[in-house]
Symmetry: C2
């Protein structure tokens, strides 16, 4: 951020009075521009014992497999965002179920919130952000080609819970130090 | 938003190619400025059977009671944000526990995420954003003076779960139409 979105004058970094963090503050109108983490909403769509996965057509991680997930929009609920992303990425109608996982992705300034879901029919397809969409049995999941650590975490916890006959909520922090992922479960 | 934060030129509202939503797009450098919901992280700090509440010193809802809660910051985890807000608003050290409630506050473009918590000692105090901080028994909670519907929802579910000896996750959407709150539980 270089300029004030309100008045167009340059901004500078400073800690406003009464605050504890550096913010972009306008040198003209003094507006404080806060930047906060964004939510990625997604789900694990099930059809019988199979799970729907999407191969990404876009960066980051084009060519790798993921769950339907994406940025939550203003004015929508988390669950509706997760269902919308299933429609956009996999042309898939889902019914959102219980909360599965919340992953704090610290460096990316994101919180990934993943729900269990039921696929309502098998008339899914390949959305514009996907190269391929397919149903996988647990034993067939391409673990070596997963796009994101948060997706792998959610999927593994989903399968373990399903095996155990429970539906828990799982928490993980993902950070990166010197190119190495640092994980913390809570 | 009137001006581009990257280059300072005016922005206009349009639906970018391949998108489904109107965005602020720069007329100079074509940067797309996305706006997404922000997370409010908070907790219900317990000390024995009592619950810690804060009377707000700032708008909105100055003079009304709330749980310690506030905007999550970039680079922190949800649970750490909730603990930080307890320290800032009530000078209170807490241990964050299980997830209690997620409330989609649609018009405000916010998601309120509230955890159960244990107060670690009673050396709390009155933070700069509070007028008063106090421990309340369930029977003494000033329901008529609650600051926010999301806080009232979280507190009522917390008490009902505690009575029942369970720790569930509760979901609600809050919207406003013609000045009237429209609630949807999930």
């Amino acid at each position: 951020m270089n300029f004030c979105a309100a008045c167009g004058q340059p901004v500078k970094l400073e800690v406003p009075a009464g605050d504890h963090f550096e913010r972009h503050v306008c040198t003209g109108c003094a507006t404080i521009h806060y930047q906060n983490p964004r939510i990625i909403a997604g789900c694990v769509p099930q059809w019988g014992s199979k799970i729907l996965l999407c191969k990404r057509a876009i960066e980051p991680r084009a060519g790798y497999w993921t769950l339907p997930a994406g940025f939550m929009e203003n004015g929508e609920a988390l669950q509706d965002a997760a269902a919308r992303e299933s429609m956009e990425e996999a042309l898939a109608r889902v019914q959102i179920g219980s909360l599965l996982a919340i992953v704090n992705v610290l460096r990316a300034h994101q919180v990934h919130i993943i729900f269990r879901a039921q696929l309502l029919d098998t008339d899914f397809g390949v959305g514009p952000e996907s190269l391929e969409v397919a149903l996988y049995e647990a034993s067939e999941i391409p673990w070596a080609e997963m796009a994101f650590l948060s997706v792998e975490f959610a999927l593994r916890r989903f399968l373990a819970d399903r095996e155990a006959g429970v539906e828990q909520v799982h928490f993980r922090d993902i950070d990166w130090r010197d190119g190495v992922a640092v994980l913390r479960d809570r």
